[in-house]
């Protein structure tokens, strides 16, 4: 009996000791990253995203607030149930401190729910759905890099103002595609354009010719591609093959540098797209991109740069707050401006939306491109306040009006 009491006392004392001295749970900062590692979105994030986060941790010398940083990652296979199960497992059994969500909106919405339930910070990077910080916002979600509203305001706004008044959408049939189409439709209509129709295609459809013929018969001027990854690539390719590019202009509503690389400049020349970052936009960006290139043998996408930036921002917040307590760290992240090679901006206190400039880019012609991966001209810089949903328009329950 006495032995038990001694042990108990020791345990209580030990527990007190932990909480009094270090506010880092489990004496380690554990970062978990769930993204598509093997399917359609694996090139824009995937292994490159893992590498970017590893670089961020290495640049902090693997330590923060005197504690070791640990990094785990897994493939959510673009399945929301896999993503939420893995997130739950990590939080329940591994003492996860930060969950980073890679690509796929469906998977990210599922992760956001789990993170809010477990009260852990969740930074969504590769997902596009604006719902993450709008209707489905949580106190623990930070949506870091971009969203469908910003893409719509960038590409949709610029193209409509430039005379592309009638639109037809080719839309991937899931949360992200629907959100992108809805947001772009709103922008097109606000700028005096009309939407003549849309066709929904299943994710990973292999043949787009049938959908494209439907688009062509609509007589619209602009074909908005509300899809991503391999689906966008195959749509652009088939549009060229069927001569649709002669009668309609293509607007890629979510395209990444990897897509352009894969299609080649001949097929994509002149296309517009909106992105949060381009490796050739500044000397700092170039310097980081070179480091990334040394490791991955390809240039980073905006998502991979954002992976690095977001994790660094989190680690610096832990350093400053001297704790990994979710509420305190999230508050610290929202209070500190982001200022690095990726962007200069803030995270909005009310809904966790990252607010920073976006870029309307145009694909260069083969003649204009002077070096490998030299693909874009920056057409305009869209200020963050204009690009993202305004608080007044937000349906986020956390935003008080």
């Amino acid at each position: 009996m006495k032995a038990i009491r001694t042990t108990l006392t020791a345990a209580v004392l030990a527990a007190c000791g932990v909480s009094a001295q270090a506010q880092i749970s489990g004496d380690v900062i554990k970062i978990g990253f769930l993204t598509d590692m093997s399917s359609v979105y694996a090139d824009i994030d995937g292994a490159g995203g893992v590498e970017a986060i590893k670089m961020a941790i290495a640049d902090m010398k693997g330590n923060v607030a005197g504690k070791k940083i640990e990094f785990i990652f897994a493939d959510h296979q673009n399945k929301a149930d896999v993503a939420s199960a893995k997130a739950r497992e990590w939080m329940d059994t591994q003492g996860l401190d930060l969950l980073v969500g890679g690509t796929n909106s469906g998977a990210n919405l599922a992760m956001a729910t789990v993170a809010a339930e477990k009260k852990k910070p969740f930074i969504s990077i590769g997902a596009g759905s604006s719902a993450l910080t709008n209707a489905n916002c949580t106190p623990y979600t930070i949506h870091y890099a971009y969203d469908t509203v910003a893409l719509a305001n960038g590409t949709g706004g610029a193209v409509t103002k430039g005379g592309g008044k009638s639109w037809y959408f080719l839309t991937a049939d899931y949360a992200f595609g629907a959100a992108l189409q809805a947001d772009t439709t709103a922008v097109v209509q606000k700028n005096g354009g009309t939407v003549k129709g849309s066709v929904k295609h299943p994710l990973n459809a292999s043949d787009f010719s049938s959908f494209l013929l439907q688009a062509q018969s609509s007589g619209a001027q602009i074909l908005g591609l509300a899809n991503a990854g391999g689906d966008t690539i195959n749509s652009v390719k088939a549009a060229n093959e069927f001569g649709i590019t002669k009668t309609m202009k293509l607007a890629g509503l979510l395209m990444f540098i990897n897509d352009i690389h894969s299609l080649g400049l001949k097929t994509t020349e002149g296309m517009y797209l909106t992105d949060s970052w381009y490796w050739n936009q500044s000397p700092e960006a170039r310097a980081w991109a070179r480091r990334f290139f040394e490791k991955m043998k390809r240039m980073p996408s905006s998502l991979q740069a954002a992976d690095y930036s977001a994790v660094t921002h989190y680690l610096k917040a832990v350093e400053a707050a001297k704790t990994d307590d979710a509420d305190k760290v999230v508050a610290q992240m929202k209070a500190t401006p982001i200022n690095d090679f990726y962007t200069k901006g803030t995270i909005r206190k009310e809904d966790g939306r990252g607010i920073h400039d976006m870029f309307l880019l145009q694909v260069k012609s083969q003649k204009e491109s002077t070096e490998p991966w030299d693909y874009f001209k920056v057409v305009t810089r869209i200020p963050g306040e204009e690009a993202y949903t305004k608080l007044a328009d937000s349906k986020c329950p956390l935003v008080k009006k």
């Binding site: 359609v40 049939d173 295609h201 299943p202 990973n204 010719s209 049938s210 391999g230 390719k237 093959e241």
Partner: protein, 295 residues
Amino acid sequence: MTEIFGIPLPALLGQLLLGLVNGSFYAMLSLGLAVIFGMLNIINFAHGALYMMGAFFAWMGLEYLGLNYWFMLGLAPLAVGLIGIVIERTMLQWLYKLDHLYGLLLTFGITLVIEGVFRSVYGVSGQPYQVPDQLAGATNLGFMILPNYRGWVVVASLVVCFAVWALIEKTSLGAKLRAGTENPKLVQAFGINVPRMVTLTYAGGVALAAFAGVLAAPILQVSALMGSNLIIVVFAVVVIGGMGSILGSILTGLGLGIVEGLTKVFYPEASNTVVFVVMAIVLLVRPAGLFGKEK
């Protein structure tokens, strides 16, 4: 203008033709599967990976060796056929006497390995492959503008499919093949080398997959995932047509391409699912498949 269910007739014809293009791929791939299943009793899950390999060989030939499309159309199936021989001799031949499941698992494993290698070397976004100059451009058919290349795909695959059918059903070599599957011991007693015949059959089946891969290269992005996107549908085609039925798999492939094409007009969201709905119905009504024989 004539309309059917609210769709203008020309548009409908266009969609039917596009369905036929996709159907030719299904036909060619399911034909290879059916031949392999009929002769070897192996459910060749690696078919999609070998189709992808065919497309990649076409791209590699152009990229590294400067060999054009027409060379690779012959060379890639040969190369993949050789790989097929290696697979059959080193692995598959030990499984014929076992349950189907073992062959399925082994070939599934082979698929994972092949796809994994290509994915880690080339990523998933894929490589661009241009339509050969001779077939560039498009022809106006009145009701639609058909890229010449797609027309070529239909012609080439139909010719190949029916040549294979004729080879197996109408020649003495085909007769020996079929006899070899019925009663290998007896056929061997006549002095025919059955194991070698079986090896060559597997090589031929996967060469068909590679041929389809080369045909697909200019239409689709050449990527490590192109096979796995297709293979499940192709399996459904084989099941609907009846396992091991040569003619059945050709006709079912073409037919389902058309059904899928129509679905893309009337209810696009279901276009990936419609094949499986058809499969479920066929299995309920005719468990052996449309052209299969009950054993």
